[in-house]
Symmetry: C2
Subunit: 141 residues, 2 copies
């Protein structure tokens, strides 16, 4: 979604299109990985030095409620955020919490099979697979 479309979406839902919201939205989409709120804040500060961490949290929740991002709670009591995308598996390292997305046709096919079984439409879903990442595997040797 472009910046313009995002502004439209905000207004359509009764929210004001503030520069803070727009910057945060843009920053989030520029991440390759899954950033934490703190990482987003740090990045946003470069363009907007006065933007507070609490605003980051508020905007993240807004984006989540608008269905723009997904919040992934982790085992160390923090969250990482991902931009909404097609169905995939989160490959999570239990040691360093790094997350890799795993996409495959099998997952697509197979998941729609599961969804067909439900007698309801899921709001969303999250599939996590835990395994040590290559770095952590190396360290443990």
């Amino acid at each position: 979604m472009s910046k313009k479309e995002f502004i439209k979406k905000l207004r359509k839902n009764g929210y004001k299109a503030t520069p803070q919201r727009i910057v945060i939205y843009e920053i989030i989409n520029s991440f390759e990985e899954h950033p934490t709120a703190e990482e987003i804040h740090k990045e946003v500060l470069k363009k907007f030095p006065s933007l507070s961490l609490s605003t980051v949290y508020q905007v993240l929740h807004l984006l989540r409620d608008l269905g723009e991002i997904t919040e992934l709670k982790l085992s160390n009591h923090s969250s990482k955020f991902e931009t909404k995308s097609e169905i995939h598996i989160n490959l999570i390292c239990p040691k360093c919490d790094k997350i890799l997305d795993y996409y495959s046709d099998t997952v697509n096919t197979v998941w729609s099979e599961v969804e067909n079984e439900f007698n309801f439409k899921p709001i969303s879903q999250r599939i996590d697979v835990y395994r040590y990442c290559n770095e952590c595997k190396e360290i443990m040797k």
Copy 2:
């Protein structure tokens, strides 16, 4: 696993079989639902009035590390615990955090298909599907 087997497992792994650990283990297995640490503690106090919450946490982590239970982090920064069992889907209500387990042959079949695709053996996995539970659906009407 019986109480005796549990004691054996503890000792085999170099842990002492304390009454606290045994009570907590038994209580957890008596829950139908997915209890929080606090709920477990409350229940344990009935049989063991001096058992502290921090011991509950320590034992829960021990059980988790032994692979006896799974910790499910939730959106309100707390956890619920489930006794290890076969592959299933957690049906989670985003409003009240209630969790229902969903078992089906499709899930079994479909998951082993996905696992075959991996070139590694997962430590564990977690599949969550979000949808409003019947009570919350009712309330929102």
